[in-house]
């Protein structure tokens, strides 16, 4: 089961030292249920803040957010939000299995009934067999983030929020993890919203790309990615992919990009 995410005229102001800072200004975003969306923008454009607003970690200054028609707070209290943080946020005193099972400790026996896949199955899904009893400090960064993903999907969330989940990983690991994440997402069919600062990653992963500009954070364009699923690396060479990448780049850099690509070198997107 999945739910649509809808943001209407969201503004966010932070009271720093001195002048208040407008982090987000009148952001509108609609992600249909069961689809994959990506928010892309430069550092400091408020994209992580946007994700935290959807997760009910922060309250917006103005505007409204709904998850399946209800406020994010309801979704959070129903344990319907899966969140993967930028850094693998695992509890260092819990083993891999215990970290994945943490949401079960929170929901208790009644909530545990909705779990269709056990921690053991999820460990297999994210490819960590043999590491069930390892501590987070014994794992690489990529493996830790797999644990975090398994934990985020344990309770079959209706929305999965991903805050640059592979930002700290090297390019090779990152692309492999992206493919795995798509495979896991395809199985769960939840609504997924990914924050990234990689153009190619945004296009490769998602059905909709929301392009943000900084200071104040605004969505300057939204585009639909026409690529079929499941996605493959080969699609990155396709005309549609390159077109999407160029359109995202246009949105990010505005007038700085020449309107018509002339050189075939533009095909080298990474």
């Amino acid at each position: 089961m999945s739910k649509a995410i809808s943001l209407h005229q969201i503004s966010m102001v932070f009271q720093g030292r001195g002048e208040p800072v407008i982090a987000l200004e009148k952001v509108d975003l609609d992600l249909p249920a069961g689809r994959f969306g990506a928010i892309i923008g430069p550092s400091g454009c408020g994209k992580s803040t946007l994700l935290r607003l959807v997760a009910d970690v922060m309250q917006p200054f103005a505007g409204s957010i709904s998850i399946g028609g209800a406020p994010p707070r309801d979704a959070r209290l129903e344990h319907s939000i899966g969140f993967v943080f930028q850094a693998p946020t695992l509890l260092p005193w819990r083993t891999v299995r215990k970290n994945i099972e943490l949401p079960l400790n929170i929901v208790g026996a009644s909530g545990a009934r909705r779990v269709k896949r056990s921690a053991a199955e999820l460990i297999e899904l994210v490819g960590l067999q043999g590491f069930e009893n390892a501590l987070p400090s014994e794992l690489s960064g990529g493996m830790q983030q797999r644990v975090a993903i398994a934990r985020a999907i344990l309770l079959e969330p209706q929305v999965l929020l991903l805050d640059e989940p592979f930002g700290a990983l090297d390019e090779i690991t990152r692309q492999k993890m992206n493919l795995e994440l798509l495979r896991i997402w395809a199985e769960s069919r939840t609504t997924a919203l990914l924050v990234t600062h990689s153009i190619a990653e945004a296009v490769f992963m998602s059905d909709f790309v929301y392009v943000m500009s900084p200071r104040p954070g605004r969505i300057v364009s939204t585009l639909e990615v026409p690529l079929p699923r499941p996605r493959t690396f080969a699609m990155m060479r396709s005309r549609e992919f390159v077109d999407c990448v160029n359109r995202v780049r246009d949105g990010l850099f505005g007038h700085e990009v020449a309107p018509e690509p002339e050189s075939p070198a533009l095909l080298e997107v990474y």
Binding site: R52, A55, D56, V57, R76, L77, H79, I81, F83, F85, A87, T89, L91, P92, W93, L102, P103, N105, I106, L135, S137
Partner: protein, 260 residues
């Protein structure tokens, strides 16, 4: 996984101190017999003879000191945990509570112990209070820092999982506090023993401190040293127990490995 060099290191860690201590004792014994040591340093065999002459004396005085130190330690631990809990819930009280701890720690107990004994009498209660006062500070600091030790990203995680305050404490705040708690609580163990001894000096009919004082007045060098060693063993043993518990409970903390 235990490899051959690791086993060698562990054996060395036990053998080396034993060899060093035995050598030092032998050296002392020889120097004493040749008359090279001043009169206030006894031969190790003299101290041992003192134990054999009257084993009941040592045991009979160790017991009261141990129970006073333990009671004082337990009271200080309970108060420190409660105070740190209040400080973590009401941030306006954080600085006052901390400063009170610093203030108590700064009082020279060697001078105030006789005053307290005059006011409260030389019963065990006075010695328990002084043992508690002298051991409170490391526990208070450990608990106050510990309850703040959980990282923001972990707190955010528990929030998104919509954990109750009670669940947040159980699954995050408490485990995150444990390394700090153990650091403070093991350091406080010797302090409580030394506090009990200081209090016994100010007047007590039983206890290692009283035994030490009588031995000093009667210039019974072997007995003074015996009581000094007994206190050191008690204080060091308390620390060792704390360190052992830390090793078992805080198994994930790599920082404490250096102290082993």
């Amino acid at each position: 996984m235990t490899t051959a060099p690791a086993v060698q290191r562990q054996v060395l860690a036990i053998v080396l101190p034993v060899v060093v201590v035995t050598a030092a004792l032998l050296l002392m014994e020889c120097l004493r017999r040749t008359g090279a040591l001043p009169v206030f340093i006894p031969a190790p065999s003299d101290i041992w003879a003192e134990v054999q002459r009257n084993p009941g004396l040592l045991i009979g005085n160790l017991g009261p000191t141990l129970s006073k130190a333990l009671t004082g330690y337990a009271i200080a631990a309970a108060v420190a945990l409660a105070a740190a809990g209040i400080a973590s819930l009401i941030s306006a009280l954080y600085a006052p509570i901390y400063n009170l701890g610093v203030g108590i720690q700064s009082v020279p107990l060697i001078a105030t112990a006789p005053l307290l004994a005059t006011a409260l009498g030389t019963g065990a209660e006075t010695q328990v209070i002084i043992a508690a006062l002298s051991s409170q500070f490391p526990m208070l600091v450990g608990a106050m820092q510990g309850f703040r030790a959980a990282e923001d990203r972990h707190r955010e995680l528990l929030h998104v999982l919509s954990a109750s305050p009670r669940q947040t404490f159980r699954y995050l705040i408490l485990p995150a506090a444990l390394p700090h708690l153990f650091a403070g609580f093991k350091i406080a163990a010797p302090s409580s023993v030394l506090g009990a001894i200081t209090a016994e000096w100010a007047g007590a009919d039983r206890g290692i401190g009283a035994m030490m004082l009588y031995a000093l007045f009667s210039y019974d060098i072997s007995k003074v040293w015996l009581s000094v060693l007994a206190v050191a063993a008690l204080a060091g043993g308390g620390y060792a127990l704390g360190a052992l518990a830390e090793r078992i409970v805080v198994f994930w903390d790599k920082a404490s490995e250096l102290e082993r």
